[in-house]
């Protein structure tokens, strides 16, 4: 069977977990095995209704007094998944490519001493082994690989699988699993969450992102981009070059080591289009590039382009939008 680790917030499954369920269901269909889910944390048992449409036949709620009542503990979660996988004789454990998904599955993989392939974009089964494709260099390269083990662990690359319901919904059975966890598994445990005072839309969730690169030239001129983002109910991001210049905080960085965005439109202002930046915005539905250089790499990647200086174009665009509103 295929066991899928599903993250959730108060019983509502996380979107990347639903994406990873699409991958898990494809694997299950390929191998003819059932698809089951592992959920942890309080309210995890409430997920059965949520996961039935995605073809999950059984939801295993991991129950332990220190897991339910206290904060997230990565090693304890990973050991729980490993014990559940062993108990169910799961052939494969899947999960989302979130920080937590990777961390929990890495701990499960360490407990099981099993191989793990991260950021997968396609998985096929061939004589009991997986022929898979995974992102390397943040998606600039695809690696074709063969994964074999008992079990194996696989995470689905972000935004590579659509959230897709199964052809036929099932009504999952719900069961509880009680792992045996030593104190050492709780050596790292979430102490508290500090909420941010910053207002505005998170980059990863914004429907409109206005990005500024080296072409912006100085920190003050991001004001024009902020105005544009406000007019479009969006948010501002930046290239690594702009962050390295100290014009924007690292939180704004879009790219391989920054945020991955998937807006309806990404308006890239004064950005050349380096590979590391493009892997951060390849999830965008549309890209509009504003650049003085018609030969810039981003012009080849964009859907729409304006050849011109952003310092002229963006204020004119803001004026046009204000007149229209």
């Amino acid at each position: 069977m295929i066991l899928s680790f599903v993250e959730h917030e108060s019983g509502v499954p996380d979107e990347l977990s639903l994406e990873s369920l699409t991958m898990a269901r494809e694997i299950a269909t390929g191998t003819g095995e059932p698809l089951e889910a592992a959920v942890l944390g309080a309210e995890g048992g409430a997920l059965a209704d949520e996961l039935g449409p995605y073809g999950v036949e059984e939801v295993h709620h991991v129950v332990h007094d220190r897991l339910d009542g206290e904060g997230y503990a990565p090693q304890a979660w990973g050991e729980s998944i490993a014990q559940l996988a062993a108990d169910l004789d799961a052939g494969t454990v899947t999960g989302p490519s979130t920080d937590r998904g990777h961390e929990v599955l890495a701990h499960a993989g360490a407990t099981l001493d099993a191989p793990m392939a991260t950021n997968c974009t396609a998985v096929d089964v061939d004589n009991g082994a997986y022929e898979l494709e995974r992102n390397r260099w943040g998606g600039s390269l695809i690696e074709h690989a063969r994964l074999e083990g008992e079990p194996t662990l696989v995470t689905a690359a972000e935004h590579e699988y659509p959230v897709e319901e199964a052809d036929a919904a099932v009504e999952p059975a719900v069961s509880e699993f009680s792992p045996s966890l030593p104190d050492t598994a709780f050596a790292v445990q979430l102490d508290r969450v500090e909420t941010s005072d910053e207002e505005g839309i998170a980059l990863g969730e914004a429907r409109v992102v206005v990005g500024g690169g080296r072409g912006v030239g100085n920190p003050d001129d991001y004001d024009q981009l902020e105005t544009l983002a406000d007019l479009l109910d969006g948010t501002v991001g930046a290239s690594r070059a702009a962050v390295n210049e100290g014009w924007r905080p690292h939180d704004d960085q879009i790219g391989q080591t920054g945020a991955k965005i998937s807006p309806d439109i990404y308006i890239a202002c004064g950005i050349s289009g380096a590979i590391q930046h493009m892997v951060g915005c390849k999830g965008a539905e549309n890209i509009l590039a504003i650049n003085t250089d018609p030969e810039a790499a981003i012009i080849q990647k964009a859907d729409y382009a304006v050849i011109g200086d952003l310092h002229d174009v963006v204020p004119a665009l803001n004026e046009e939008l204000e007149e229209r509103s």
Partner: protein
């Protein structure tokens, strides 16, 4: 306190990526090498901690002989000592890498003193495996916090913060521990020419790596550059005159107005 930072030599792929004819690796004949961005931050963090608390910063890499270049970068950033686990030219998987590092920790601690912290990048830029730090921690029986963007150490306890949507998760963990860091935790220093010259003269300690890959296999078959739509963008105009056309696209094509 003594801090070990583990880094990796990777091709500098800011330029266009070209694969070798057998599609097994990036053609590096026209590319330089660097270390992964997260790992550069791991070195900076190690050096800052040693400066603030006393002790030493040690940098280690598993890689070919040429990876001494990245170790010397670490030394130029004021790391005190460097160790190369010379692996030859082949890529090592995450389990073998974690086991190889775990296998030499005792030896390194005998020579340089016990490590209070072992720092890794959250994932290497080329492989993105996201598991070496965790697997090493589990081999050594140490606690592990991953993906952190802030680290404070006081009285044998590390306070590590990890970014989440709308805030930060805060973990407090007793040392010794393994921590994997993300870019943004600090701003890596630029090494001066004098520091680079001094780093050239420092000794790099060498060890033979012995890591086992463990049961099961992950085997690369080939690499592929993904197909991209390189059709030129629809040019909406030049300069300020393009503003009405942009608004039209936002309204009718993207449908956000």
């Amino acid at each position: 306190m003594n801090v070990l930072s583990c880094v990796k030599r990777v091709p500098n792929t800011g330029a266009k990526i070209v694969l070798t004819e057998d599609n097994q690796r990036i053609d590096t004949s026209n590319l330089g090498f660097t270390m992964s961005p997260h790992e550069e931050c791991a070195i900076e963090e190690a050096v800052q901690l040693a400066e603030d608390h006393g002790g030493s910063a040690h940098v280690l890499t598993l890689g070919p002989e040429e990876a001494t270049e990245q170790l010397r970068t670490g030394l130029a950033m004021q790391a005190d000592e460097a160790t190369l686990l010379e692996s030859g030219g082949e890529e090592w998987g995450p389990r073998a890498t974690a086991n190889a590092i775990a296998d030499v920790i005792d030896d390194l601690e005998d020579e340089f003193g016990a490590f209070d912290l072992l720092l890794f990048g959250n994932e290497s830029a080329d492989m993105g495996n996201c598991q070496v730090g965790v697997r090493l921690a589990r081999r050594l029986g140490l606690p592990c916090v991953t993906g952190i963007r802030s680290l404070d150490v006081d009285d044998g306890v590390a306070v590590a913060k990890r970014e989440i949507s709308g805030g930060e998760e805060v973990y407090e963990v007793d040392l010794p521990a393994v921590v994997t860091v993300k870019e943004g935790i600090n701003e890596p220093r630029y090494a001066s020419m004098r520091a680079k010259m001094q780093a050239r003269r420092k000794e790099v300690s060498r060890r033979e790596p012995t890591g086992e890959a463990g049961p099961g296999t992950f085997e690369k078959i080939r690499l592929e550059a993904p197909e991209t739509d390189d059709s030129p963008a629809e040019i909406l105009g030049e300069g300020v005159d393009a503003a009405p056309a942009i608004v039209e696209v936002l309204a009718s094509e993207v449908e956000i107005l």
